[in-house]
């Protein structure tokens, strides 16, 4: 008697689903992975949610009347205020998870071989998220957003050579009627690129994650339940912000509609762009700004090589302490970049200097020291 098992219909019609189900049941994972390792997954879930809410917003958004169309969404679309808050607060949540994932990656030295490729892909995702976040900010049509876009477009026009050509191409000239429509398309493209980066990072991670020799568990139900806990707590924090502090971390002056004749006294950004804006204001001029921003992200990309420790994985007490100091430094940098006082501009210098000192001087020294 033949005992052929009929293949399930997913195997014939949607093999990627049956492959995924097989993968979920394969016992290849180590037991008791820590909760904090779920942070990058929360970033991806957040990005998918931003894509869904962003598509709904895009139905009603008009780049020619940016501020008014967002007011229309908030006041005249059924549950529009909730969808808009999903997107704006969701961006804060994605960046919150991303910054925490970055902190954890520094803490456990997640960039050490063989995970250097995974680290680079995740840093690429972080960079793309920051650009997408800045473009999303400009799309709001508020006074701060418009002024930031105007200054960036002006700066791009003043560059020469290849950076100038790229800048002119990107902004399409000074901030005018045609700028926001192209920013909207770039925002959508960046979302797609982020999802592609997530796929690349995931496949790189799977390629270098070893299967435990004994006691391995499958993703379902062991990690589906753990991930569901993480998602529930993430959603709880998200709900508290959406419903009780919807303007959390956003400059209130961005609620003033853009007016090219009124220049804000100080350019303010959403909290997740503030540290990078602080780094950009360290050195004077346009090239100084570019060096600050690109350098600030570049040192993170360069970590696998800045870290001079050997195959020994365990970070020592001094390294951990310096990592915490760095976290406080970045928080301070963001705060200092957002205040108008003279103290703020001094502190931006201090915190920014410490940031580069940490990566370019302290990291190689301390890791080389602890490796012995």
């Amino acid at each position: 008697m033949s005992t052929e098992v009929k293949p399930s219909w997913t195997a014939s019609w949607l093999p990627f689903i049956s492959n995924w189900q097989t993968g979920l049941a394969a016992p290849v994972l180590v037991k008791e992975a820590p909760y904090l390792a779920i942070l990058p997954w929360l970033v991806s879930v957040g990005v998918i949610f931003l894509t869904l809410s962003g598509l709904v917003l895009a139905v009603y958004y008009s780049p020619a009347h940016a501020f008014e169309s967002i007011q229309f969404i908030d006041r005249n679309v059924h549950n529009g205020w909730l969808v808009q808050s999903f997107h704006e607060t969701g961006a804060s949540m994605v960046f919150g998870a991303a910054y925490l994932a970055l902190l954890r990656g520094l803490w456990v030295r997640g960039y050490k071989a063989p995970f250097a490729a995974v680290w680079i892909w995740r840093m690429a995702i972080f960079g793309l998220l920051l650009i997408a976040g800045w473009i999303g900010f400009t799309l709001s049509g508020g006074a701060m957003a418009d002024w930031s876009l105007t200054r960036a477009a002006q700066a791009a026009l003043l560059l020469t050579g290849a950076p100038g050509a790229f800048g002119t191409w990107f902004f399409g000239g000074p901030n005018g009627a045609g700028t926001l429509p192209r920013m909207l398309v770039f925002h959508l493209i960046l979302g797609v690129l982020v999802l592609g980066g997530v796929a690349a990072a995931n496949s790189a991670r799977k390629a270098v994650t070893p299967v435990p020799p004994r006691g391995a568990v499958a993703f379902h139900p062991y990690y589906t339940t753990q991930y569901f806990v993480a998602l529930s707590v993430f959603a709880l924090i998200f709900a508290v912000l959406v419903f009780f502090a919807p303007r959390f971390g956003q400059p209130f002056l961005n609620l003033v509609p853009a007016d090219p004749l009124v220049v804000p006294a100080k350019l303010l950004f959403p909290w997740y762009l503030a540290p990078l804006s602080g780094l950009g204001s360290l050195l004077p001029g346009i090239y100084g700004g570019i060096i600050g921003v690109v350098g600030g992200l570049g040192v993170l990309f360069a970590l696998p090589w800045l870290d001079r420790s050997g195959p020994n994985y365990r970070p020592g007490a001094l390294y951990k302490f310096l990592t915490l100091v760095l976290a406080l430094d970045v928080l301070g940098l963001g705060w200092a970049a957002s205040t108008s006082s003279g103290l703020g501009s001094v502190l931006v210098m201090v915190f920014g200097f410490w940031y580069f000192l940490h990566f370019l001087v302290l990291t190689p020294l301390v890791t080389a020291m602890e490796a012995e």
Partner: protein, 226 residues
Amino acid sequence: MRLIFAAALAAVLAGPALADPSQGVFGSTDKAAAQRGLLVYQTVCAACHALGAVHYRDLEALGLSPDQVAGFAAGIKMQDGQPATLDDVFRDPGMGAAAFGGAVPPDLSGIVAQRAGGVAYVDGVLTGYAAAPAGVTLLPAHYYNTMYPGGQIAMPNVLRDHAVTYADGTPATAAQEAADVTAFLDWTADPNLDARHEIGVRAVMFLVFMSGVAIAAKRRVWREVV
């Protein structure tokens, strides 16, 4: 590490409670005050200020019946001479800067959210008119105001005692009128506040429950592994 992240979590959950109270972290719209403020707004402010994000039909959210709102709108003549309908945006006075001595009065739809200090600031400007102190020379067509940045504001003091008569019998002192119109403008800046808080309480309760269920399920599954 867990301690740090737990502290971060607690800070995020507690933070909104410490945020600027005038933006309404908790609380609700005072509808009675907003209705009185609507009367003050229409009588005093609408002559010069626009409220371009609000439609007359939105006023039903203040507790007015559709007939009351239709009657209110019908009493307002729009730019084309026709009486306003429910679906019209609040009438824009449409006067250029020249009529106001150079500065067009700002649209008030979001003014409470657009100014540092929110409700306290707007109420303070409306009640902050005073005689210019010695040594301060007023610019032409400007007035001294203790709350306005720089002290000199182009808007005259428009609120007087008994400029309106409230339907609910509240005495219409200038301070009361200022408080009421500020409550109205607080509503126009954030008309979804009540819905947001109402849904929010239920959402947070559900998510606390869901987190509990998730933790129980995870522990049950992990107990059988280790």
